[in-house]
């Protein structure tokens, strides 16, 4: 089969990276000196019983090496200890946050991919026209704005029109399902828009330069020489080839999306993984920070892996 090697290699790399991340997680939080960070059982205000249970569960009285193995075992059972601030299991807190983050991030990303690609292609096609200069300048500006600051600006501009933060309006009395959804949508609009705008700049620039690079290829010249219409060349020859770098960069920007979501969720108090990260940093809630970090890292590695496979599927030239 074509490129079985490639798939095996990429899969192995993804798996090892996840393993590296898991180990890093242990080293950073538990193996570095400093007892408050290292000790999962030091839950503030916990009963002695809970402490004893945690010490037992994670083998906190044993050597670091043994603790590492126990940590891996507990992780396989999705056990990451309990939150310092709510004494709830970390896994359930993180799980709930993921469910909230996904739709917000998805909406923003789709927005930026669609609009970013369209403007990028147009800008490259109409190179050196007003349209090109205008969209490049706009993209550069959005690209340069600090994410959380852009969110704050949107808050300043929409003060009184859209909700300022959170996921639902707590004073909405007994809402029907549609009302509830509209409420969530209203709260989601600004966070998603912020993410969308920040990414929009990046995707426009990436698409434009990928398109420019493709438009410089000789087969474009050939297509022109054959008398093909510009629009057909752009659609059929240029864009399809430019898609490869675009897809990789969109997937690689997933790390950027994650970073953005931490800042954006903090600005808008959107109860997702990002807010969990910033709250647990403020409260020194190490177990939750550990869990959130792991989720973010693994999802980034996963999307990079998906991008690799997609790239492989789209580009028949890859054989190894």
């Amino acid at each position: 089969m074509r490129g079985a090697d490639y798939i095996i290699k990429r899969t192995a790399f993804a798996l090892i990276t996840v393993f590296v991340a898991i180990t890093l997680n242990f080293v950073l939080f538990r193996a570095l000196p400093g007892d408050t960070i290292a000790n999962l059982s030091k839950v503030p205000g916990a009963t002695p019983q809970l402490r004893a249970e945690l010490t037992e569960e994670f083998g906190l009285d044993q050597s670091k090496w043994q603790q590492y193995w126990i940590y891996l075992g507990q992780l396989a059972h999705l056990n990451l200890g309990v939150s310092f601030s709510s004494t709830e299991p970390v896994t359930s807190e993180v799980g709930r946050a993921v469910v909230n983050t996904v739709p917000m991030v998805l909406l923003g990303t789709v927005f930026s991919v669609v609009f970013g690609t369209i403007t990028g292609v147009l800008a490259a096609w109409k190179r050196r026209t007003l349209l090109d200069h205008g969209s490049v300048s706009l993209a550069l500006i959005f690209y340069s704005l600090p994410t959380h600051w852009l969110g704050l600006m949107l808050l300043l501009l929409t003060a009184g029109i859209l909700p300022r933060g959170g996921r639902t309006d707590e004073f909405l009395f007994n809402p029907t399902f549609t009302e509830h959804m509209i409420d969530i949508g209203k709260h989601m609009l600004l966070p998603s828009l912020t993410l969308g705008l920040v990414l929009y700049g990046q995707y426009t620039l990436v698409t434009r330069s990928a398109m420019l690079e493709t438009l410089g290829e000789d087969f474009i010249l050939t297509a022109r020489a054959k008398g093909m219409r510009d629009r057909t060349i752009v659609r059929r020859h240029a864009f399809r080839n430019a898609m490869l770098p675009i897809i990789t960069l969109v997937a690689l920007s997933f790390g950027y999306i994650v970073a953005g979501s931490i800042l954006i969720e903090t600005v808008f108090s959107w109860p997702g993984v990002g807010l969990l990260v910033s709250r647990s940093v403020q409260r020194r809630d190490w177990p939750v920070l550990q869990g959130a970090f792991l989720v973010l890292t693994i999802s980034v590695v996963f999307f990079n892996y998906v991008a690799d496979l997609l790239y492989f599927k789209l580009d028949p030239r890859i054989t190894t």
Binding site: R127, W149, T266
Partner: protein
């Protein structure tokens, strides 16, 4: 024989210097935006250096009520502590730029060393170093920065180290690729045949060839480092005793400048960060473009059939 050896490096140095000068000249002609970026960045650096002379007030001087309006208090109003926003901006530029430049320096040192070692020695050194780079590249920077900064505790040097230690990967890759191709060129082989040692070849022949790309990469990294500082400050992970642009945004948010409508406390620091990032991006990408000849040709362009060699 020995005279040839003596004269060769001189010749190389002169031509590369002249080439650099023409490259800079071309850049200025073709890319006015990069020149604007460089001037703006230079001005901000000057403001930061001469902050004690330029800033109208100190960062702890309370000169009026909290959130005093710009109309009442000179150009930009007051922040939540009644401090002059313009002075804060000028003093804040210092810390933001120090973090940006110092973190980039750390990143360049790590990335440059890794890239040169991997590219020059090849073989198992290359494999091991690039594997490590790949893992660093695959793990998202910002969450890792947040985690490490949170564990280490907030201080200026920690922030610089954390950012620098996580930004070197792209540099390492770029440098490695460049070193690999330079290493195989005839003049490098010739130098080796003449008995030049590894260090001499790297510093004399390889590094000057890699330098332009490295500089472009450095400028782009400064932008990322300043962004990262702003992000870390926003999460409360910056040095509590130092005021930076990121810290100003954080302070304004915490003191509810948004609900108060005190835009003057929150808009200026963000604009400053954006301007610096924009300036660095313009300079860096213009340099990268001029080093990548593939972008100079477009067979399909709205104006003219073929654009030729202009950038």
């Amino acid at each position: 024989m020995s005279t040839a050896l003596e004269s060769e490096p001189g010749v190389v140095a002169e031509t590369s210097e002249r080439r650099l000068r023409t490259a800079v000249w071309r850049l200025m002609k073709d890319r006015p935006s990069a020149v604007v970026g460089a001037i703006v960045l230079g001005l901000i650096v000057l403001l930061a250096i001469f902050a004690p002379l330029v800033a109208p007030h100190g960062i702890h001087d309370k000169i009026g009520p909290p959130f005093g309006r710009p109309a009442d208090f000179k150009p930009l109003g007051l922040d939540d502590g009644g401090t002059d926003v313009l002075s804060l901006l000028i003093w804040g530029a210092r810390i933001s730029l120090i973090v940006g430049f110092a973190a980039t320096l750390v990143a360049m040192l790590i990335g440059g060393t890794v890239g040169i070692l991997a590219g020059y020695y090849g073989g198992s050194t290359d494999t091991v170093l690039m594997r490590i780079t790949d893992y660093f590249l695959a793990i998202p920077d910002v969450p890792l920065m947040i985690v490490v900064a949170a564990i280490w505790g907030p201080s200026l040097s920690h922030i610089i180290l954390v950012i620098g230690m996580l930004l070197w990967t792209s540099t390492a890759r770029i440098v490695r690729a460049q070193v690999k191709s330079v290493r195989e060129r005839v003049y490098v082989k010739r130098a080796r045949a003449l008995g030049a040692g590894d260090a001499r070849i790297v510093f004399r022949h390889v590094l000057p060839q890699v330098a332009p790309l490295l500089v472009a990469n450095t400028v782009l990294t400064i932008a990322v480092a300043i962004f990262d500082e702003t992000a870390l400050a926003f999460l409360g992970l910056s040095d509590p005793s130092k005021i930076s642009w990121g810290k100003m945004i954080k302070n304004a948010t915490e003191s509810a400048a948004v609900s108060y409508g005190a835009w003057w406390a929150i808009v200026p620091p963000g604009v400053c960060v954006a301007i610096v990032i924009l300036a660095c991006t313009l300079i860096g990408s213009a340099m990268e473009d001029s080093l990548n000849p593939r972008l100079r040709v477009a067979h399909l362009a709205a104006r003219g059939f073929r654009i030729g060699t202009e950038g």
